[in-house]
Symmetry: C2
Subunit: 414 residues, 2 copies
């Protein structure tokens, strides 16, 4: 019998209980041992639940109970989650978490602590919800050099973009709908401004390249500036706009990592990842492109990933799973300004000819895109392989010359 504690009885926590109870037989068979929840930590009371006697408000009770070898942290947020997880690892308890904020901020420290104490610290559910991604990257792709990862990592923004693309809702209308359906929080900033996707690409980058990348070092843009005009230009170009978290290795030994909306070609496997679904492309030197697709959030998908980690913990009490990365290195992330990209620019001036001539003069070679119902004075065009610092200066030159820059969006290379 493996006795565990669950910290937090919110959406994911209650889902973990539901999955553990409803799949008890198959889980026991796979873990080769019965798994029993001894404590659930929550400040609230749930007298109506059949397992109400398991609740406690006292974390120390869990910490001091030596029969508890595995603690499941599904509180979310940085504190008290970090203090609790750290204390557990210091007290000989392996930890399973779904908390991407925690892993993105403290992964290196917690993995080092787990390694020191010969414990497991597992977090399959922190990226991609029910999609197996942490384990496949760390195991199946062990025989690969991963050159690039690109993913649609946030379901809320993908839902909003899908509504904009398919139903021509504007951003605020689509956001309102996402809130009504419970896909977006009342304060949607963490999703909409790209912070959530940023944490996830940081975790995938850290895992794939062995060096922690902190969110603060990642250029992050959200989707709140995307308009239906941009959507139309993307269509004219031959694709759709998706919020992408991307990391790749550069020849100088650094990595390029960013989160921003991108034009994604209709031919790409990520172009058809719609609604609240996530899709993650992993490019390996031996495997080529492998794509994982599924529900990136939600109670049961996330809970099932947590439970898979619990099972792995039970099976590996004595053998640690290989999951490790070093703390961040200076100069490891290429500064955003130094990176190169293909880019789409939307601009306007007194008339289209003037705007186009000015853009050609400033950028050199440009490729014009023409969208449906394009008004006189507005132009859309793409520029190939320009360094971001030069792009920024060029956009300023456009403005100085009397051409207003309405938006610019990166064009993806996958």
């Amino acid at each position: 019998m493996a006795e565990i504690a669950v910290l937090g009885h919110g959406v994911v926590g209650s889902g973990v209980l539901e999955v553990l109870y409803s799949h008890r037989d198959s889980i026991t068979k796979r873990a080769k041992e019965e798994i029993d929840v001894k404590y659930i930590l929550d400040l609230r009371d749930f007298p109506e639940l059949p397992y109400h006697e398991k609740f406690t408000k006292d974390f120390n009770k869990i910490l001091q109970d030596e029969s508890i070898k595995i603690v499941v942290e599904v509180l979310g947020g940085l504190e008290p989650a970090f203090s609790y997880v750290k204390a557990c690892l210091e007290h000989g308890k392996s930890v399973v978490t779904s908390n991407k904020e925690l892993v993105a901020a403290k992964g290196a420290e917690l993995l080092a602590l787990a390694q020191k104490n010969n414990l497991n610290f597992l977090f399959e559910a922190s990226v991609g919800g029910g999609i197996p991604i942490i384990r496949p990257i760390s195991q199946c792709l062990a025989a690969n050099e991963v050159s690039e990862i690109a993913g649609i990592l946030n379901g809320t923004t993908n839902f909003i973009l899908t509504k904009m693309i398919r139903e021509r809702m504007d951003f605020s209308e689509a956001l309102k709908m996402a809130q009504q359906l419970g896909y977006a929080e009342r304060n949607p900033a963490a999703d909409v401004e790209g912070d959530d996707a940023c944490r996830k690409i940081c975790i995938l980058a850290s895992l794939s390249y062995g060096t922690h990348v902190y969110p603060k070092d990642v250029h992050t843009e959200g989707i709140s500036k995307i308009t239906l005009e941009d959507v139309s230009y993307a269509e004219a170009w031959g694709g759709v706009i998706k919020l992408i978290g991307q990391v790749k290795t550069l020849e100088n030994g650094k990595i390029q990592i960013e989160v921003c909306p991108m034009f994604v070609s209709r031919e790409s496997q990520l172009a058809t990842v719609d609604d609240v679904f996530n899709g993650i492309l992993v490019r390996g030197d031996a495997t080529g492109d492998v794509v994982f697709y599924g529900k990136g959030a939600g109670k049961l998908p996330t809970a099932s990933a947590v439970v898979a980690d619990i099972i792995d913990c039970v099976k590996h009490f004595k053998a640690r799973k290989y999951l490790f990365w070093e703390d961040a290195r200076e100069d490891y992330v290429e500064p955003y300004e130094n990176t190169f990209e293909d880019v789409f620019v939307r601009a306007k001036a007194v008339n289209s000819d003037f705007a186009l001539e000015t853009a050609s003069r400033v950028f050199g070679e440009i490729t014009r895109l023409i969208r449906k119902e394009e008004p006189e004075g507005e132009i859309g065009f793409t520029v190939a392989n320009i360094q971001v610092s030069k792009l920024q200066k060029s956009l300023e030159s456009l403005e100085s010359a009397g051409v207003s820059v309405l938006n610019h969006i990166k064009i993806s290379d996958f």
Copy 2:
């Protein structure tokens, strides 16, 4: 130092050596031990290779060498692969294989033998080449009931169908091109008639439901009867034709399993899996739909999956991985004739009105599809939820009434 032997130095075998040598450092780090190939079994000589001194033609030398704890079988085919693998498992050696024919025919027996001797028998590379699928199904989805698996499991037929759909090549022309590019064998029957896909869906079904399913018990159709007319009707219906291996659980406790071309809706994630790529959809009660996409064959993708298994074997000398299924049960597979399906029928008669009237009389409710350039006398229509035995009788009735049935194709439900 973990010493291993590789049986067979063909495409996959030489790829395994290439991956092991080119990723030596990262593999050692992950396996926590260096992996060295001590023997390579092949009847041919390779004097030009830097590791030519490792070759042997004598399997018994490997079998009797107690330092060899892991044997990699990449010979393909049933014999001598089966005899060799069995002997290895009887002599205390874990086995990694990419051989789908072997696993589909002898999986239950070999897994039981491995279990009895506390050894591993791993076969990630047998399905989906470089796509991680065996491990995610057995581990990450442990907390799920899998209700259905549907996959594009054969790259050769998918390449042919893609050429038919996108470039309007006919079947024989597309097959010839696949042969010229090395995607199809000179004798393409195993791919084209669905046998290869059948072995793979048998492996996935056995793994997911814990009971071996033998290829002989699976209704299997290939793609050689698919015409450009069928492709046009699929387009009119709103999708494409794909060769699908599918298994699902039925309410009566049996499983429904088959391999056949199907109409797949444009909305499905499998519809955009093109060329030689594979895509596998796994439907779990907690995760919802998860899709895995990538190169299903080829030297390095397959080799990298084999190497991932080797690493797992090295890490788990003392702990067996959970991979197990029982031998086949009688009455476990629902007879094909008893299953229900939505189906597309293409037929012709002296004129279209007569054909349609007859079809309506025979089938009851039908939905007509109209393709581009449909000639007088030809009709296409769909029938919802009909039992296969009744479908077969109805098609005979059509024929008797003077309407020739040109083709009928299942319509997918994912």
